[in-house]
C-alpha cells in the first residue's frame, strides 16, 4: 500500500513527465493495435466491395450441360457439388459461401402460329424451369404453375399466341404434350435482370429482346423471338427420355457469407471445378470469374498490407523515440531518488526496478488503454472510411501488436534510464555537471546511418524517381525526415552558437538568453529530431492524401463522364433524346449518350449531342486542352440535313420530268428509315416505273428519313446508259388530306449526291444539279449497278473527339464501329487525354450523325445512357420514368469516388494521414512539454535573474523565443523534408488498386490544401508553446530564493 502511495506521490511530483510517458505509451500501443485491426477491417471492406459491386456473373459459377431433360439440372448440381464441396471444406462451408443454387432446365416448343413479315426468322419458344421462379416473377394474371405441364406465359406471348390463363398450348411433336397456362407474368425489369444473380443467363435464354439468340445479327434476317414458358421441373423430369435440353446451375457467392480467410480455398476450389476432367468428360462445362475476382481482391489487399505495415512501423518507431526522450527526462528527474536508494543498499536489480517502476507501471497501464484506443480509432475509421457495416474487431494480432509496442516502449525506457541507473552516487550530487552540453553521437549516428542507408536502398531499388510503383516509397518521407532531422538538430545549436558574439554585444536580454539555452541545453534539440521527422511524415501524408483525393476525383469524373449516368431503355419506338428533351428543355441538366462497346480494339463509341454533352460532361484540367464549346461545334459542323417524311404521312409522291436514256423497264424505289421502328434499318417503297409525271407510293410508320432514291432494272444491263431525269415536288399526304410539300425536299442540291444503290463493286458516276427548284440527276447505268440518288446528311468521315489512348493524330481517318456494329469512318478533329465516360478509349461523335450512319439500327452492344448535371439526377430520373423510360442502373461520380476511396491504397493513405497527424501533434506536444520542463527546471535561475533586476518581459521573451525557434526550426525542416519527399516519391506510391490508363494523374500537392491543416497544427502547438512559456515565467518568483533552494 505504501509502495502504491509512493508511486502516486511520484506521479504527482513528476506530473508533466508522467503524463507525457503515459500519452506516448498509449499512442505507441494504439499504433500497434491500429495497424492490424484496421488492416483486418479494411480487408473485409475491400472483400465486401469486391463481392457486392461486381455484376453477378463475376461472382458466380455457371455450370451447363445438355442431354435428356430428365433430372438434368439436379444431376448437374449434384455433380458440381461433389467436386466443389470437398475443396471448400464441406457442405456447411459451401452453403455459407454460396446462395442456394439456381437450377434451370431449358427446352423448346414450337412458336405460336403468328403472321410475320416475309423473311422473318421465327425462333422456337423456350420452355424453362428455374428454381423458385414464382418468387422472382410478378404475376399479372393467374397463379404459379405447380404441377407437370403447367406453364406461366409472358404477357407478350399471351398476346401474340392469343392464349390466356386457363388456355392450353399445343407443343406438337416435341414430346411435352399440351401445356396448361396457369398465369401470366410481367418481364423482370432491366435492372433486375442485370443485377440479380438469380437471373444470370436468363436475359438471353428466357426472354426475347436484344440479347436473344440471333437478335444481334444486324446483317442477318429479321428475327422473331418469344419469352419463355416457365414450368415446374416436373414437366422435364416426367417427359420422355428422348427429349433433349440444356441445363444450367448457377452458384452465386453470398457476399455476406464470405470471409477474408475463405478466399484462398475458394479460389482453389473453383479452379479445381472449372478444370475437373470428370465433369468435362460428362459434357459438363463450368465457367467462373471467381478466381479473377479473388485475385483482384487479393491484389487489392496487397496494396493495403504493405503500406499499413510501413505506416504503423513508422508511427511506432516515432512513438518509441519519443518515449525514449521523455523517459530520459523522467529518469533524470528521479535520479536523486535512485541515488538515495543505492545509498540505502539497494542491489542492482532492485535499483533498476525502483528506477523504472514509474514508467513501467505507466507502460503497463498504457497497454490496455492503447489497445482500446487503437480499437476505438479503428472503429471510427471503419465507420467513416470503410464499407458501411464493416466490423472493426480487436483481433489477436492487434492485441499482440499492442503488447509488442508496449514491450518496445519498456526497452526504450530501460535504454533511457541506463545512465541514471549506472551513475555512481557521488557523481549524482556533484555540483559540477557531468557532461555539461556534450551530446552523444551514438543515437544520431544510428538514426542518420539507418535513414541514409534506407534511402539509398530505395533509390537503388527503383522506388524513388522511377516509373516503378510500390508502397515502399512510403518509407521515404520517414527516412528523409529522419536524416534531415538529425542534421537539423545539429545545425540548430550551431546556428544559435554563431549568434553568441552578436547577441553579447547587441540586442536584448531575451535573445541573449534564448540562443544560449537553445545551443547549450543538453539533449534539448533531440526534440527537434522527433519534431522534424514527424512533421516530415505529416506533411507528406497530407500532400499524399490531397493528391490522391484529387486523382480519385479526376478518375471518377473521367470514368463516369458526368455527375450522374443512367443506363436506360427508351419505350419502344420512341427516341430517347426527345424524351430527355422534354424532361430538360434547357438542355443543361441532362443529355443522351449512346455507347457502343462491341469493338475488338476496346474503343468505345460515344454518340452524343455535342453541345449538351460538352456542357454536362465533366472536364477536369488536363482532360482536354481546348474549348469544349468550340469542340462541340467541330463535332457537329452542321445539323443533319435530313429530308423527313412526317408522322402520320400515308403517301408520298414526286414529279419526274425530262427522262432521258433510261433502260427499258426501269423502276424507281424510295428508301427511308422509319424512326419509329424498334429495330431501325432502311425500308423501301416502290414508286413504280420510271416515267415522266407523278410517281407515288403508300407509306406507314413514319416519320421517315429519306436515304436514297434508286433506279432498278429486273435484268443485268448489257450496255451502259448515260441518262438523266429532273425530280421535283416531293410531297406527302396524310390520309385523304391535302398534299403537303416536303421541305427542302428535292428543291436544293445540298445533301444529295449521285451514286449507286449498292456501293460494293459499283463505281458511282453521275451528277446532281438543282435548276429552278428541281433536282436534275444524271447517271451512268450499266451491268448490275443500279444508280441511286443518295441522301448525304452527314459529313464523311464523321468528325470525332478521340482519346489519346486510341490515336495520337488528328486529320487521318480512324475506323471504328458505329451504333449498328458496322464500320464507321471517323476523323479525329481533336484529341483528349481523357474522354469523359470512356477516358482512354472513347471516341465521341455526334449522335445525330451516328444514328444516321447506322440507319437508326441499334446493335445489342449499344447502350443508351442519360448523363445528368450535378444535382439533377433525381429529378431527371423521375421524369424519365414517368415517360416510360426504364432505368437499368444509375452511377454517380460520387459512387465511383466512394469505391475508389475504399480501395487498398486510399485506405492506407487515410491511415497514413491519421497516423502522421497524430505523430505530429504528439511530437509537437512532447517538444512543448520538454521545453516547459526545461523551463521549470530553470525557474530558480529565472527567479534569481528577476531578483537581479532582469525584467520579467525579457525572461518571457527568452522563453518564447526558445520555444519558437526550437519548434519553428523543427517544423520548418520537417515540412520542407515532407514536401521534398512528396515531390520525389508521390508518383511512385500506388493510389489505385489498378492504375488507370487515363486520365493523366496529377502529383503536384495543392498548396492551400496542404497548408491549411499544417497551419492548424502549428497554431495549436504555438498556442501550447505560448501557454507553457507564460506558465514557466509566472512560476519564477524571487520569493523562491528566500527558501535557499537556488
Amino acid at each position: 500500500m505504501s509502495g502504491l502511495w509512493q508511486f502516486f506521490l511520484g506521479l504527482r511530483q513528476r506530473a508533466g513527465v508522467s503524463i507525457g510517458i503515459l500519452l506516448v505509451a498509449v499512442v505507441a500501443a494504439a499504433a500497434g493495435t491500429l495497424g492490424p485491426a484496421y488492416d483486418a477491417a479494411a480487408r473485409t471492406s475491400i472483400l465486401q466491395d469486391g463481392l457486392h459491386d461486381q455484376v453477378p456473373i463475376a461472382r458466380a459459377i455457371e455450370a451447363t450441360t445438355g442431354g435428356s431433360v430428365i433430372q438434368l439440372a439436379s444431376g448437374l448440381a449434384t455433380a458440381e457439388a461433389q467436386v466443389l464441396d470437398p475443396h471448400l471444406g464441406g457442405r456447411a462451408t459451401a452453403s455459407r459461401l454460396f446462395l442456394p443454387p439456381v437450377e434451370a432446365v431449358l427446352g423448346q416448343v414450337p412458336p405460336p402460329k403468328v403472321a410475320e413479315p416475309t423473311g422473318t426468322q421465327v425462333h422456337d419458344v423456350p420452355l424453362a424451369s428455374r428454381t423458385g421462379i414464382c418468387a422472382h416473377l410478378r404475376l399479372t394474371a393467374g397463379t404459379c404453375p405447380a404441377a407437370r405441364d403447367q406453364v406461366l406465359v409472358s404477357a407478350a406471348y399471351a398476346t401474340a399466341a392469343h392464349v390466356a390463363t386457363g388456355g392450353t398450348i399445343d407443343t406438337g411433336r416435341t414430346g411435352y404434350g399440351t401445356l396448361h397456362v396457369t398465369g401470366e407474368y410481367a418481364l423482370p425489369s432491366a435492372a433486375e435482370l442485370a443485377n440479380d444473380p438469380y437471373w444470370l443467363g436468363a436475359q438471353c435464354d428466357d426472354f426475347s429482346g436484344p440479347c436473344a439468340s440471333g437478335a444481334n445479327d444486324v446483317n442477318g434476317p429479321s428475327v422473331k423471338t418469344f419469352d419463355a414458358l416457365f414450368t415446374p421441373v416436373a414437366t422435364f423430369d416426367q417427359a420422355p427420355d428422348t427429349i433433349q435440353g440444356a441445363a444450367t446451375v448457377v452458384l452465386a457467392l453470398n457476399p455476406d457469407g464470405v470471409r477474408s480467410g475463405d478466399l484462398g480455398n475458394l479460389s482453389a476450389a473453383v479452379g479445381e471445378l472449372t478444370n475437373d476432367q470428370t465433369l468435362s468428360s460428362d459434357n459438363i462445362s463450368v465457367t467462373s470469374s471467381i478466381p479473377v475476382l479473388t485475385a483482384q481482391v487479393t491484389s487489392d489487399w496487397g496494396s493495403l498490407d504493405v503500406p499499413v505495415l510501413v505506416i504503423s512501423l513508422q508511427l511506432l518507431l516515432l512513438a518509441w523515440l519519443l518515449l525514449f526522450l521523455i523517459a530520459t527526462d523522467a529518469a533524470e528527474a528521479r535520479a536523486p531518488e535512485v541515488a538515495l536508494a543505492k545509498l540505502r543498499g539497494y542491489g542492482g536489480v532492485r535499483t533498476v526496478a525502483f528506477g523504472i517502476s514509474e514508467p513501467a507501471i505507466l507502460l503497463l497501464i498504457s497497454f490496455p488503454a492503447g489497445a482500446l484506443t487503437g480499437w476505438g480509432l479503428t472503429a471510427g475509421l471503419a465507420r467513416v472510411l470503410l464499407r458501411p457495416g464493416t466490423p472493426a474487431d480487436l483481433t489477436p494480432l492487434a492485441i499482440g501488436a499492442a503488447a509488442l509496442s508496449t514491450l518496445g516502449g519498456l526497452a526504450a525506457v530501460l535504454i533511457a534510464a541506463r545512465n541514471t541507473l549506472r551513475r555512481p552516487v557521488t557523481a549524482q550530487w556533484q555540483r559540477t555537471a557531468r557532461d555539461a552540453t556534450k551530446r552523444g553521437w551514438v543515437l544520431d549516428g544510428i538514426l542518420l546511418t539507418g535513414a541514409v542507408a534506407g534511402l539509398a536502398e530505395l533509390l537503388a531499388g527503383g522506388n524513388v524517381s522511377s516509373a516503378r510503383s510500390g508502397s515502399l516509397g512510403l518509407l521515404v518521407p520517414g527516412l528523409l525526415g529522419l536524416a534531415v532531422a538529425v542534421v537539423a538538430s545539429r545545425l540548430l545549436p550551431a546556428a544559435c552558437a554563431a549568434l553568441f558574439r552578436r547577441t553579447r554585444r547587441h540586442g536584448g536580454t531575451g535573445l541573449f538568453l534564448a540562443v544560449r539555452h537553445i545551443a547549450r541545453r543538453p539533449g534539448g534539440t533531440r526534440t527537434t529530431i522527433v519534431l522534424t521527422a514527424s512533421f516530415a511524415l505529416a506533411t507528406f501524408a497530407i500532400a499524399a492524401y490531397f493528391v490522391q483525393q484529387g486523382n480519385i476525383a479526376r478518375v471518377a469524373q473521367a470514368q463516369n463522364g458526368a455527375a450522374g449516368v443512367m443506363v436506360v431503355t427508351a419505350p419502344p419506338g420512341q427516341d430517347l433524346a426527345t424524351i430527355v428533351g422534354r424532361a430538360d428543355p434547357s438542355g443543361t441538366q441532362a443529355t443522351v449518350v449512346d455507347r457502343y462497346t462491341g469493338t475488338s480494339d476496346g474503343s468505345q463509341l460515344l454518340a452524343v449531342n455535342p453541345a449538351q454533352w460538352a456542357r454536362i460532361a465533366q472536364w477536369a484540367p488536363g482532360f482536354y486542352d481546348g474549348s469544349t464549346a468550340g469542340l462541340a461545334k467541330q463535332l457537329e459542323p452542321f445539323p443533319p440535313s435530313t429530308v423527313v417524311l412526317p408522322a402520320r404521312a400515308t403517301a408520298v409522291r414526286l414529279t419526274a420530268a425530262g427522262i432521258r436514256n433510261a433502260p427499258p423497264g426501269a423502276t424507281a424505289t424510295l428508301w427511308m428509315i422509319e424512326r419509329g421502328s424498334t429495330s431501325g434499318g432502311q425500308t423501301s417503297v416502290s414508286l413504280g416505273p420510271l416515267r415522266d409525271g407523278t410517281l407515288a407510293a403508300q407509306l406507314s410508320d413514319c416519320p421517315c428519313d429519306i436515304t436514297m432514291l434508286s433506279l432498278d432494272s429486273d435484268d443485268v444491263l448489257a450496255k451502259t446508259y448515260s441518262g438523266s431525269v429532273t425530280l421535283s415536288a416531293l410531297a406527302t399526304q396524310a390520309g385523304s388530306g391535302p398534299w403537303t410539300p416536303v421541305t427542302p425536299g428535292l428543291s436544293r442540291v445540298t445533301g444529295w449526291g449521285a451514286g449507286s444503290e449498292f456501293s460494293e463493286g459499283c463505281q458511282s458516276a453521275g451528277s446532281v444539279s438543282a435548276p429552278d427548284s428541281a433536282l436534275a440527276w444524271s447517271w451512268t447505268w450499266g451491268g448490275a449497278c443500279s444508280p441511286a440518288l443518295n441522301r448525304r446528311d452527314l459529313p464523311s468521315p464523321v468528325p470525332a473527339l478521340a482519346a489519346t489512348g486510341l490515336t495520337q493524330s488528328t486529320g487521318s481517318t480512324y475506323d471504328t464501329l458505329g451504333l449498328d456494329g458496322q464500320n464507321l469512318a471517323t476523323q479525329p478533329i481533336a484529341l483528349a487525354a481523357a474522354v469523359p465516360g470512356s477516358p482512354s478509349s472513347g471516341i465521341v461523335v455526334s449522335r445525330a450523325y451516328a444514328q444516321l450512319a447506322a440507319d437508326y439500327i441499334s446493335s445489342g452492344f449499344a447502350q443508351e445512357e442519360v448523363w445528368t448535371a450535378p444535382g439533377a439526377l433525381a429529378s431527371v430520373r423521375s421524369k424519365l420514368e414517368a415517360a416510360g423510360v426504364q432505368v437499368a442502373s444509375t452511377t454517380t461520380t460520387a459512387d465511383i469516388e466512394s469505391v475508389l476511396s475504399r480501395q487498398g491504397p486510399a485506405l492506407a493513405s487515410v491511415l497514413f494521414l491519421a497516423a502522421a497527424a497524430a505523430a505530429a501533434l504528439l511530437a509537437g506536444g512532447a517538444a512543448v512539454l520538454a521545453l516547459y520542463q526545461a523551463g521549470r527546471r530553470r525557474r530558480l535561475e529565472y527567479a534569481a535573474l528577476l531578483a537581479g533586476r532582469v525584467p520579467r518581459r525579457a525572461l518571457r521573451a527568452s522563453v518564447l523565443i526558445e520555444q519558437a525557434v526550437v519548434l519553428g526550426f523543427g517544423i520548418i525542416a520537417g515540412v520542407v523534408a515532407g514536401i521534398v519527399a512528396a515531390i520525389i516519391v508521390l508518383r511512385n506510391v500506388p493510389e489505385f488498386a489498378t492504375p488507370p490508363a487515363s486520365p493523366p494523374l496529377v502529383y503536384n500537392p495543392p498548396a492551400v490544401s496542404v497548408a491549411v491543416p499544417l497551419v492548424v497544427v502549428i497554431a495549436v502547438l504555438a498556442a501550447a508553446a505560448i501557454f507553457a512559456a507564460l506558465a514557466v515565467i509566472r512560476a519564477a518568483r524571487p520569493e523562491l530564493l528566500r527558501q535557499g533552494q537556488a
Binding site: 554585444r505 547549450r520 531578483a947 535557499g1044
Partner: protein, 220 residues
Amino acid sequence: MTIDEARDVPLLEASGLRVERGGRVLFSAIDVTARPGDRIAVTGPSGTGKTSLLSVLAGLGAPAAGSVRRAGVAVTAGRLPDRTSAVLQGFGLVSLLTAAENVEIGLRSAGMPPRAAIAAANEALTDLGLGEHADHLVQELSGGQQQRVAVARALASRPQLLIADEPTAEQDAVTRELVLARMFAVAAGGGAIILATHDPEVSARCDQVVSLARHLPTHA
C-alpha cells in the same frame, strides 16, 4: 555631504522584523541598521533564519512584521533595491551561461552598455581569480568557483549595499581571503556589507554581529 554626515543616513534600516515559515516563527523583533562602512555579520545555528533574514533585507521576501527601508525608501518585496547586490545561498547563477555571461547579464539589466558590461565582468572575475574561467559554463565549474562567480556578479555592479549568504562557505583559505577582501572593499568604499556566516573568523572581522538564536516553537 561629508563621510560623517553620510554615516548619519543609514543605507539600510530594518526594524521589528519577524519572519515565519510554515507557521513557525523563525525570529522576531530583529533590528538591523547598516551605515556606510558597516560590515555586519549575521550568525546563528542552522535553521535560525539567517538566509530568511538576508532575503528580507535584500527585498526578496516580505517579513511577517516589521519594515525594511533602503536609503530611507521602503523596500518592495521581489526586487533588489537600487545599488544593492546579493550573493544567494544557491548562487542564483544561470547554469547554461558562462561565468562572464552570468556577470554581464546582471550588468546589462542594470543598464550598462553591452561592451562595458563585458569589460566589467572580465575585471570582476579576474579580481576573484576566475579570469581563465570566464568563458566556462558555470555548470562546468566547481562549487567554490561558482560561488566566486556569484560574488563577482554581485561586485561587478559596484553596489552600495552587498548582502551575501555565506559567501565563503565553499572557499579554501586563500580564496576565502580574496573573496572577503573584495567584499569588504565595498564597505571601505563607503558602502556596507551584510553577510551571513558560520565562520567565527569572518564574523570577527565584522563591525556588528546580528546573532540569531533558535526560537522556541511559537506559532503566529
